[in-house]
Assembly symmetry: D2
């Protein structure tokens, strides 16, 4: 393993994913936080935007175009989609790009164009980018690819739950129903009425039903896993909490398969994983049990309807679903201990 110190740039630090990446990197033994960028907020100090990042409060935010990239080893892209690929696509080759946006997640730029409403300006780069669901990407990551596309928060939880089951052929690649629930931080720091405290507290609603852009992303990966063209029912709900994401996957068992087999497949697949754990039968994982951490907890339940199974996954959308997995990918790509900076316990209560 390397003992180097990496110089990391954070691009787009005015949002929650940027701030979370900084929070997690703050005590990384092998990372020095280098340039921190923002666009509209350039010129202000990071402490003005995020007073909780005490050690970096005096750091000035600069524009991405003003960064001197010499000596920068890795860039975390925390920019909005669209902006992201335009900025990241032009970085010098010596910078390893870890993108937290959606811009490099699709292997086919046409799919991206359909769902994100714009033509990709670096189609070759998105074709060759690595989809960084770490637990399934280590071989590719070991080559330190130029661009690592971190999965969306919902896809992270959904794929960790379903992908091994399709690969094992133990559930069917049809009628996959993912009923998802997320805290409000998943919507970012943008000023939208629906994200106001008074509009989000003390209530729940579904949103983007059948139309959420994480659905095609999940479908891409599940199709690769199953060899078939998979469509999913993906139904997200906004929950009055800040962090946390839970997906409830309602699945059809393959002929002859039983619930215990499902638990066994997942347990075996993740037996050596530091961040994915399968709960004991009967336990109902709570997002509080992973808050602030890079963990994903899975649980398997019998359905009352024969031939079906329910798999639940919980993550912290800002950690395993965003900044934490990004760091896990960096650790993996740079041959650092994969858990470095990611070993904290959940903040409970």
């Amino acid at each position: 393993m390397t003992t180097q110190t990496l110089n990391a740039a954070i691009l787009g630090a005015s949002g929650y994913t940027g701030a979370e990446t900084i929070r997690l990197l703050a005590h990384h033994a092998n990372v020095r936080i280098g340039p921190i960028t923002a666009h509209a907020q350039a010129g202000r100090s990071l402490g003005d935007l995020f007073p909780h990042l005490h050690p970096f409060a005096e750091r000035n935010l600069v524009k991405a175009e003003d960064v001197n990239w010499d000596g920068v080893d890795v860039a975390f892209g925390c920019l909005p989609h669209g902006t992201s690929e335009e900025v990241l696509g032009k970085l010098p080759d010596h910078v390893t790009v870890i993108d937290l946006s959606a811009d490099f997640r699709f292997r086919d730029p046409r799919t991206y164009a359909v769902h994100y409403g714009r033509t990709h300006t670096h189609p070759d780069k998105t074709r060759s980018a690595i989809y960084g669901l770490t637990e399934f990407a280590r071989e590719a990551l070991a080559n330190r690819p130029p661009i690592i596309a971190c999965p969306g928060c919902y896809p992270t939880a959904s794929l960790l739950a379903i992908k091994p089951l399709l690969e094992a052929g133990i559930v069917l690649p049809i009628d996959i129903i993912i009923d998802a629930k997320s805290g409000v931080s998943g919507a970012g720091r943008g000023l939208k009425e629906g994200n106001l405290f008074c509009e989000a507290a003390e209530g729940i609603h579904a949103y983007s039903v059948g139309q959420h852009r994480h659905a095609p992303e999940i479908e891409q990966e599940l199709s690769l896993a199953s060899g078939a063209s998979v469509l999913v029912n993906f139904t997200p709900h906004l929950v009055p909490m800040t962090r946390g994401e839970l997906v409830t996957c309602h699945l059809k068992l393959a002929h002859g398969a039983e619930v215990g087999d499902v638990r066994k497949v997942l347990s075996q697949r993740y037996a050596e994983e530091p961040f994915v754990k399968v709960a004991k039968a009967g336990a109902c994982p709570d997002t509080r049990w992973v808050r602030g951490t890079n963990l994903c907890l899975l649980a398997v339940f019998a359905d009352r309807i024969p031939g079906r199974v329910i798999v639940v996954a919980v993550i912290d959308n800002l950690v395993k679903g965003s900044g934490g997995q990004a760091i896990q990918n960096m650790n993996s790509a740079f041959d650092l201990p994969e858990s470095e900076a990611l070993t904290m316990e959940p903040l409970f209560p």
Copy 2:
């Protein structure tokens, strides 16, 4: 219509359903609140338990066995299951019983025994009780049945969403998946660790997966609606909010049926209903839009998977899911205006 004043007893006023029934009855033009009972808390004033019920703060709580039933017209049973049927089963015949517990919901006392772990002591009464999902029970209610069993909160929302679709044959009676989300008040006022603020705030988890007692209740009614023996996937989640319940029903369309047909069936079925409304296409009903009211809002969404449909229902679990529907049933049974005492607007924000 009658212009009488009914004398109503509230049995079991130390819990949330009892308090909510009193809150709603407080300004009912045709009801006088008579005896208010509690067991462990008998002898205390209602204001000691529920300081928000200002007009009744000085009312003394008495034991159910000490009530003089002469002159009492209607009894709202807000007791725990088990206790409920033992107390209510013995009331004099002139008292119309409206039970908010589970005790008289099952037409077959053996089903009750299986799921509630005890033998019903009034099996004949449960066989003849009316299942008071008001919108489907008016004919039976018009005869002022001796016992009206109010549906559970989850069954209320689920049945209002699914029952007309099965009756119309537009969705299939198989693979019915009800992914449900409830606020914490659904768990009552009992002292359980999981209901503490620090354990319920800022997180979400599934519970009683595949084993919740509202599942057989839903199955009973859907089986009646479809003529087949229906099993459902019923997966409830605890959401960090006090009131509100949302069920997301993932359904298979009958051959040839389309999403628009589903919206049409529901719209027609509820066109004249004061408390059930179908949202416009695209709207995502929020539990905040019904908070404190007897309303149920429904919405229909296309699934990405062909041949499927998603129906969402939201209610306030303490009103339409409990005390409000109980009063609606009373209004209906006593030939009072059905909306009396139930016309408030939601408390938003």
Copy 3:
């Protein structure tokens, strides 16, 4: 008393105070809701902005300048300050104006200019407006004054707690400390980062310390009550809840006065009031006990420091602190039953 039906206009219905006024007026026996205005949102339906206002969902929002004032009896001004006096100051004389903004609260337009940073364009109207803290304004309201300025939410709670004590000379008009706590709805529906769920949930902070514009308003009224020029320490805090306001008043007793005397003065002053109640010794009023209602609860506590007393007041900032008191003022001015449309019980839990 009158049996007329008043035609009420709501000016500025895109914010929470406007929506709350409509919610409360919805079932007022003597009011018909007439024109509903908004500026940026004109042309949309009210249901687009506030889906919970079901009976008015189809109502179109119009611009204030497009209202035909013939036949309008009363106008509720729910506009931002500045805009408010400019719009309301020009209404025809036959319209009784009930303003929920700050624009007509100051008897001296120079004080307004200092604290609101603009010159009042209707200085004579603000001089003659009635400060509508209903419990202290009935005599003036009985004459149906042209403009009624509803107090701010914090002043409402603070003045109900302190004013009778200064009038009785039982506390000193010096070192008056008002430590205040408010839910987020007090900040309105505007898109500010601090009002986002993720920024307001799970934390508390003080704001505008020593500089909040409700301080001079409180000082104006307490100076009138005491005959001296009163300054107050007013320290507000933002609490992670939607509705509710609690003020904790730390006061010095007059020589020889005791805590029991304070409770007695308040109890006597409010003995006949429908909306102000003094809690029993020992009770700690909770904002939940008034949520959704026009009530103000007061409580008196001994201080550990001799010669001091603590008075707590709780209100719902959107009802008694805004739309509810506005309707109470209208009822009073039009000789309607003062509690009409304001008799609901709190929504608890």
Copy 4:
């Protein structure tokens, strides 16, 4: 500095303070977590009680009386008061006791008896215990005293704000008003109705006004600081959030002192402190800016009333107000780096 590894026992791990101490110690470079005790829950695994403590999930809880104290270096007492001194008072001399309960906070056991309603059974030990407000106790801690009494959460915040000001003589030791606000975790994990989600969410109330047991504790320390006998107005409020505590101190300036002097005294006093910071003029510290950390942020504000000043302090009640300060005290007493295991950034949002 030492490079030893300390063997630490956690006594009373079924509550939040015990769990939080374990969470923080989990990655302490010089600590191995040894025996973990509970009374009613003995025999269960820690994971049964606190599933979020993943690395210790399999650890068995034992009764305190069954612990073999050989080889244990330090015991963290997380027991209820009363139980605490009875258990801790009997530990062998080689164990350094760090008590998070109130039992050893009072230098005079008679004061303890008055406020905690029981006679101390180890009066000599409480007389000689060190009051571990770390920033003011380092000299005494350096001698590794047998018993370190960690301050209460409210006293921690209050004393950090006020004590240097009294020591400097810049505020008067009279009319000290501490208006305090705490999250629900301060009330512990006990099953009390007031701590239920439905009773604590969406509202605020004062409690124990004039009677809270943290008042005499604050008075003890402020009296020592000022040389006079100090009484304080201490008025706590319960805020609907899990973690966090904010105290608003309303103080009288000494003759001639100004607000800027107050800020200067605090800034100088804490200039070298790792965990106490004074905010820039104008900033309003938020409990979110310290959540999950051992930080205390202070801010100084001008009062509208001349001759007065307002000082605000925020902490995380479970860290600096409990488990974190306990570890800080251990680090100090054992000559370890004082910040070891306490350098995490706040969890925001």
